[in-house]
């Protein structure tokens, strides 16, 4: 059972985007950072335990050519071996900041050259993989940035081709060892998933085809891909082979966010149907393949959820954002 905790107020309401909540847990400092996209701006705030808000900052999408102010598509903290960077993607480019958002260390402008008149141009989908940060594009390309241990000397090292439609989300996990080399998965608007092995050159290992609906959110856990789809389904695949192992009719509307508490194997799914569900992942004793058990369902009344994240490593608390809602809702288990 979960109970509602004190909400954290936001300066601006959350935009109707997917994956619209990023959480940076800092247990050592007894702090949690939250990042939410409002529209042309994103709000960062830090809170103490009990949700007491401490500091907040607003970041704007960097202007470029164009009539209207550019909209931000996603904000996400990337935890790298020696530093944490905050990445912001928009319809103009990619902005990278020090983790508190105080200093912009890198700006990459989008090249709309290849886009036809009818295509929207934007970056979306952010994940850290080792000392790389990967960012997805409207074209389906994934940009791989090499991040130094400190300083602004960030270099675009590779451009991955695997998708033909806009990237929606990217997930990574530390490499699992010899048996399982897959450590990154990218998803797109057509529902296609690409599984990669990171390295000085990223290698495409598997393609898992879509079935006519977008895949807005994806996670990777112990060599298993967890994907949330526009028709409310959550599917789990073996990353290295692409074999479907679990299919859950989980939600009544499009899924907008998935999150993992990797240490305990908990998966969180949130959708536009106002529900958040928590699932326990495990390996079956017989075949060693992945199994899922439903743990808990929470209804956030009259709220089109747009972001959800676990707030602690044990998965015993989570936070939720909703379209038009100017607060972060918090839940913790009793």
């Amino acid at each position: 059972m979960f109970r509602r905790e004190r909400s954290i107020p936001l300066r601006g309401s959350a935009a109707a985007l997917c994956n619209n909540l990023s959480v940076l847990q800092l247990p050592v400092r007894n702090l949690t950072h939250f990042g939410v996209v409002h529209g042309p701006s994103a709000q960062l705030l830090s809170a103490a335990p009990e949700g007491v808000p401490l500091a907040q900052r607003q970041l704007q999408a960097k202007e470029g050519a164009g009539v209207s102010p550019p909209l931000i598509t996603q904000v996400h903290w990337c935890v790298l071996p020696f530093r944490v960077l905050l990445v912001l993607t928009s319809h103009r480019g990619i902005q990278m900041y020090e983790s508190d958002g105080s200093v912009m260390v890198y700006w990459h402008a989008l090249d709309a050259g290849d886009a036809s008149l009818v295509q929207a141009v934007f970056a979306r989908g952010i994940a850290a993989s080792g000392h790389f940060i990967c960012v997805g594009m409207w074209s389906g390309r994934v940009l791989v940035f090499d991040i130094p241990a400190k300083g602004p000397n960030i270099v675009l090292s590779e451009e991955l081709a695997g998708h033909q439609t806009p990237i929606t989300d990217i997930a990574t996990e530390p490499a699992q060892g010899q048996d399982c080399v897959a450590d990154m998965v990218t998803a797109d608007d057509s529902g296609l998933l690409c599984v990669w092995q990171s390295g000085p050159e990223f290698k495409l290992l598997t393609r898992i085809p879509g079935f006519g609906v977008p895949c807005p959110s994806v996670q990777l856990w112990q060599g298993t891909v967890a994907a949330g789809y526009g028709n409310g389904q959550v599917r789990l695949y073996e990353a290295s082979t692409g074999t479907l192992h679990v299919q859950i009719d989980a939600h009544a509307r499009a899924i907008c966010a998935l999150d993992l508490a990797p240490e305990v194997g908990k998966l969180l799914s949130a959708a536009e149907d106002t529900f958040v569900h928590i699932w326990q992942l495990s390996r079956s004793p017989e075949g060693g393949y992945i199994e899922v058990e439903h743990c808990h369902g929470e209804c956030v009344p009259d709220t089109q959820v747009c972001g959800a994240r676990f707030c602690d490593p044990s998965g015993s608390s989570f936070a939720v954002t909703g379209y038009d809602l100017a607060e972060i809702l918090r839940f913790s288990s009793m």
Binding site: A15, G212, G230, V246, A252, D273, T303
Partner: protein, 353 residues
């Protein structure tokens, strides 16, 4: 965001505007021939070929202010006149209605069915005018051409673009409050029961497969809602059962259409928004759509067909309340002169010979 959103925004808001005007014309007992003329003039202006051509070009959404200018001109495309307060209220009702429809669309693609519902109803208003009917049918064809082949992902982007446009609008609408589709805090009710989107299965099942693809386990879980599968998919043809009720005329039965403008908390959101009422005193560059509407032949209220004024309020008190709480539109010269006179001016009722 998506550059294919403006036609959907314009046509659906236009449809809502026609529903409201039709209801008010009937409520105020405007003679049938005059009422028909007003609707015909507005519809024929809306679906003017040159205008539609410009509308359908891939482009970013207009700002709220720019779009409002377009509707101001559209509402005055005939012999009918609306005062500022009535135009404000009309626009509030239109925008909240379409926001509701977009939010409650089961699938992103269903916004196209909502659009078709509006067009079907518009054709009902102009049954006796074959030329205008033809214009509407042509627009139908264009919609099918452009949107018929879009992917679910592209519709999702269109939906997100529309929701961003409507973000932070929480005007309370009487008809929504009465029907319990809107809460007293201005937020829409999102039901956790009813028909599912086409293509979505009833939540509650976990199926596990082995390496050979054979199902090895099937477990149910309690998902919390009470859903049923959709009976059938709505039709995207020129004629057909749309199935979806969103976008149909909710004013067809005589229903009140007050908006609730009281309460400081309501206006907190309003104050942070840009003022969207166009300033008639400023010589601003009109956006292209507004210029195109303005360039069309407007029926001047002269000769044997005098114009008349339509009112969206049912009581003087209501109109005064609305004017006071909207005082942040202080740039209106006319508004200032009214309030400085210390009272509500004599209401301009319908002028008939």
């Amino acid at each position: 965001m998506s550059v294919r959103t403006l036609p959907l925004l314009f046509l659906n808001l236009g449809g809502e505007m026609l529903y409201i005007l039709d209801q008010r014309l009937r409520a105020q007992n405007i003679p049938g021939d005059k009422a028909r003329k007003v609707l015909n003039d507005i519809i024929s202006t809306m679906f003017n070929r040159k205008f539609m051509e410009e509308l359908f070009k891939p482009q970013e959404l207009y700002s709220k202010k720019a779009l409002r200018t377009v509707y101001d001109r559209l509402a005055h495309a005939s012999i009918m006149r609306l005062n500022q307060a009535s135009m404000d209220k009309l626009y509030d009702l239109m925008t909240m209605a379409f926001k509701y429809q977009v939010l409650l669309c089961p699938r992103p693609k269903d916004v196209l069915l909502v659009t078709f519902n509006h067009l079907d109803a518009i054709k009902g208003f102009i049954q006796d005018s074959p030329t205008i009917l033809h214009q509407v049918d042509e627009t139908f064809q264009q919609l099918t051409e452009i949107y018929g082949g879009l992917s679910a992902g592209e519709f999702q982007l269109i939906r997100q673009t529309l929701l961003i446009f409507f973000q932070d609008l929480h005007i309370r609408v009487s008809i929504f409050l009465k029907d319990k589709v809107q809460n007293s805090n201005g937020r829409f009710v999102l039901p956790v029961s009813g028909p599912l989107p086409w293509g979505t299965k009833v939540p509650g099942l976990v199926r596990t497969f082995n390496n050979k693809g054979e199902e090895v386990r099937k477990v149910e879980f309690k998902h919390g809602g009470s859903y049923v599968a959709a009976p059938k998919e709505g039709s995207f043809e020129l004629y057909g059962d749309r199935v979806l009720k969103l976008g149909t005329n909710m004013y067809s039965v005589n229903r009140p259409m007050e908006t609730h403008m009281s309460g400081a908390s309501e206006n907190l959101a309003a104050q942070t928004q840009e003022s969207i009422a166009p300033n008639p005193l400023a010589k601003e560059e009109l956006n292209l759509l507004a210029r195109l509407i303005g360039g069309m032949e407007i029926k001047k209220p002269s000769g044997p067909e005098p114009g008349f004024r339509l009112n969206l309020f049912t009581t003087d008190e209501e109109e005064e309340t609305s004017r006071r709480t909207k005082s942040w539109l202080g740039s209106w010269g006319s508004l200032r002169s009214w309030t400085s006179q210390g009272g509500v001016p004599a209401r301009a009722m319908i002028c008939l010979p």
